[in-house]
Point group: D2
């Protein structure tokens, strides 16, 4: 099956290259009679939009979304929703000098090996520009989930600098350009990234996503587990190299008695005394917060020369000029949130289909 579709019941197909006239996504499987206007989507695209601080790419894209189908008089009709975003700042001339060279860390080489053709104007489908489609589709997913399910993300690490858990403040994330929940760390990151940027280098990041209000029972064992689908969703975001749920890799050093989340009753409801599981057991949501973290590698395009080869087999050097994005991980926050929303919306519909027990 071709790879540009995501989800089963809530399902979207994205299209468009970084240097074509437009990109977009057609979202299918949306129940009817859900209020949906362009502003519902635009707010999340604005969050992802490049060029909002000196720590992200300076490509200028207004990213204005248009709804071309699937709604009537402000509500969904149950038919496919086409969301289109015109490409404005294409600047293909920037890339012409690297047309036949494979940028290390990028998909240039693998696309060329797979498809035998190279769109030398930029990253094409492999460009982070594609993530705007994910954010647009994720906005629709949030409407399906409704206001009771809240999905938020934050950066918890840039380069070697990790936040203090005790300092976590959700209100802080809008106050700094990093979606950092630890105000003190935000300042430190600013300083650190200024150094990285001036050195023409780049830094990686870890993003943490939390979904609150997810009911118990979502996820289909055994191969369509909720955590499996979340892991895949995050790993398909550009530059992501690792995903973990709950305690994640940290669970390895715990003993079974520390790791297992004990249960008590609280006001007639089951309450877990910890959340090492990250809200998922056996691939099914427990009703606790769902917690996912993912690692984003440092930006591959840097202002330093690197050794590579070209499509003719010559050994050459390559160096990025112009727009430079010292930490692509920053803009991954709204993308990760959108993917989480998409997975949850899909599983919510699947849960309804079999008439969940609760």
């Amino acid at each position: 099956m071709a790879g540009n579709s995501f989800g089963t019941l809530f399902r979207y197909t994205s299209w468009g290259e970084s240097h074509g006239p437009a990109i977009g996504v057609v979202v299918d499987g949306v129940p009817s009679r859900i209020a949906l206007v362009e502003a519902d989507i635009q707010q999340w695209l604005d969050k992802r939009r490049p060029g909002q601080s000196r720590y992200t790419t300076q490509r200028q894209e207004p990213d204005q979304v248009k709804i071309l189908s699937g709604t009537f008089e402000g509500v969904t009709t149950g038919t496919p929703i086409q969301l289109m975003i015109d490409n404005v700042d294409q600047r293909s001339r920037d890339y012409r000098n690297i047309a036949d060279r494979f940028r290390p860390g990028h998909a240039d080489y693998t696309y060329w090996k797979k498809y035998g053709v190279r769109d030398y104007r930029g990253g094409g489908r492999a460009s982070a520009r594609e993530t705007a489609s994910r954010v647009a589709a994720g906005a629709v997913a949030r409407k399906i989930l409704g206001p009771g399910i809240v999905i938020r993300g934050a950066l918890v690490q840039i380069g070697p600098h990790t936040i203090e858990r005790a300092a976590w403040d959700w209100d802080a994330i809008e106050d700094n350009p990093f979606w950092c929940p630890d105000r003190a760390m935000a300042s430190r990151w600013a300083e650190y990234l200024d150094g990285v940027r001036k050195a023409g280098s780049s830094a990686g990041a870890v993003i943490e996503l939390v979904a609150e209000g997810v009911p118990a029972g979502l996820g289909e064992p055994v191969y369509d587990k909720l955590d499996g689908d979340l892991a895949r969703a995050m790993m398909t975001i550009n530059a992501v190299k690792g995903v973990e749920i709950g305690a994640g890799f940290g669970a390895v050093v715990l003993g079974g008695e520390e790791n297992g989340d004990e249960m008590r009753m609280q006001g007639g409801k089951v309450e877990f005394l910890s959340n090492n599981a990250g809200g998922i057991l056996g691939g099914i949501s427990t009703g606790q917060d769902i917690v996912v973290r993912f690692a984003v590698k440092p930006t591959s395009s840097i202002l330093k020369p690197m050794r590579t080869v070209d499509s003719e087999g010559n050994e050459v050097e390559i160096e990025t000029h112009g727009r430079h994005d010292p930490c692509v991980g920053i803009r991954a926050v709204p993308v990760g949130e959108a993917m989480m929303a998409s997975v949850l919306a899909d599983h919510l519909l699947r849960y309804r289909a079999i008439g969940g027990a609760v």
Copy 2:
């Protein structure tokens, strides 16, 4: 879509509970005229079989596989291959005393919330027993991949003890009960796990998988990326809480110039000077070794009492008696290999479909 199927073109559906008469898997999409007899599958099941050392569960299962369909005179016919394994050592009486209590860290609670019915005889579909089906299907996947693609796994960490990379010796992994490639560490793990076992506790583990010989070009951008599918495949294995590709979470602390794998020509072929990418760029294989790691949490069933609730809402304690498996991660090695083989076989067929460029 119901969740018991894996893959798109190479696609299998597993079935059976830990305490039913049998478990099995029907494998569809296998090309015809591939030599396949039961021994081809049995060898991998033997590797996964429980009760082979004091560090894994003492459940005794011969795990003899039968091919019920899909082959004729020792070769595949292109029709679905049903592989069945009888359950022998069911011992449902062991579990009767915990019939209505939710074991912390297990899927008891979530299955009950999702399905409203409880098979109190054991883990049912959530049992690690299901992984025998994965190993059987993975054996078929290896036959599709052929001898040129070699998939191997090893434990690289148990609890806090991590192997020395420099000491890696693939020949060592068959010489100790841990699939440990570092002989010195194997002894240390034995000592450590004996302590864990005697304390009635358990330990987590990290498994590393390497696939050699994978051609460049496998993987379907943008949502069916090879790394996305591998991440999902691993995360659906019981007790897995984290997955990473190549440098993984470690990439976060690298600068872009360290992380990007530079390229040179070697004997007329492209050669990468490092493999932080883990053999995948833009979701497509590069031709390098594909490297995946995943984290397995400590066994949830331990010989210590833990607080929980029962299906009536009473606060109770629960304690496992009898068979005890101090580190479930050990037996995850052949399971991880099987899932990797399955993902690669599926993408190999998909690659053939579009007539890859190379």
Copy 3:
């Protein structure tokens, strides 16, 4: 995607050859807590079972179904249901003399061209034996649909002899070996088929299926229309060459004013004054009876010599000996019913997923 699975949310995968040890089907996506025991399935297999009259094949198969997974204490658990039927009367020796010859009208030639391997013992997967799996899965589908939806089939034509619509009596179909709703025609068919049988020839048939009690709203436009899925379901049954819905091909000779089903109110509900649509408009059920007809070609294996070639490219003759089935269409009734039930159960779950309007 491999072709042995049917459905999306209610989804089954069948396996097994006519001359292997067993055939079966694994049914996934079944909601939990539905009462299901083997007798629920056996009743429909008994209806399909061969050898019940001189007008169908004399192969003797008890077709005893076993539930190997997915139920506990008589109810479904939400996990995959493996249904297995042992092959008893395999008689592969009957077929040995035709091992390398392609039987006209059969799939021998095309399987050989596609797969390059020939299971010379019989029809393999192309055998009508596979339809037992469909009937078993269809029995599960009926349980999902519940008693309010009634699916029945009848033969309406054998060879040139078509029933009288005015004589339709559902009670008659159990009283003759043809599922014929017109008692007078049943006698005529008996006489006609005796002649066909004695001549060593065969006859085709048309089956009509009616589903009562289907709510309005099932079916997913535009490519997963209910009628599209029904047409495909029927066309995949062995020997079927045509499918029609409602007035079908007969609609071509009607004027628009005759064909369009007018609507009135009756007791506060919408009532259609005719049913040329066969209960489906725009791919969505109307709430009327759903009416499907399909044409089954005459049995290809006859007691007369026919010209063909063998796998070496020799021109030869071929003639079936022994078991002869003068009208395969007869046994297609329970198979058609099962496929209709399967399509409806799948669409019922899909309908629930999006929370249908009514």
Copy 4:
């Protein structure tokens, strides 16, 4: 799974309503390096375009297609191809007076029952306008199939008037407004349809499609049979009520010895002496011409009053004014061809995936 996608490996998703700003289709799974420009698609849209004779709807749509993604310098890149067609002649005012009435024979009632919302401006997704997306996608499918596979369609019946098989002349179909291969019958149809049109009535039609040059081996038994997929493809076209393959319903009156297509050798190749199978046996192509016929009901919108109800439950009458299309079947020819091409392209890719035997 939402219903607006078609195919598995060659897979497209259509979107857009009859009265929205545009319609379109995103085509995924297309191999790279296939020459494709807008003119390749436009030629088939021009064939389908309305308003080309007095026998079809007078809606005026230029149907200019734009390729928004997936090609670079005139060849496909392997990424999704977005094809967009602006809606020009929307005339929503024509429909305002029937906003709350359910047109008999249309999907108004069922969409309202399913989705609970009504786009009163026209047929929305249920409009025949959606078939332009099919034709556009089918044009891409033809490019995958290459020049060796030729797909053509013709009308063989309008109302009660059926062509003479002996008079079939493919060259004739471009010479009359009916795609009629029998020149004499074309004149008779013109006369007949003029009468139908003047009476404000409508007529049904039967279309026959022939695919030449299809290799043996396409089709996946047992549920993804080539004939099953073709049947579904045709049945999802607006107003189609019946589908048949080869001899179709006519096979019912044949004896087995007449129906089975005998085989001889001709120049070292297998040759069939007849084609009652319509080029498909056991769901797999034989290498003969593939022959499909489908029945289109008479246009439901006629210039005569019909009884219906409205969304408030009132009994009312309804009558179409303005644009009138006496035989929708005529424009179904290019649509049927496109669907046939789509099914064949999908199966060709699937065939390549498993490395077909031949």
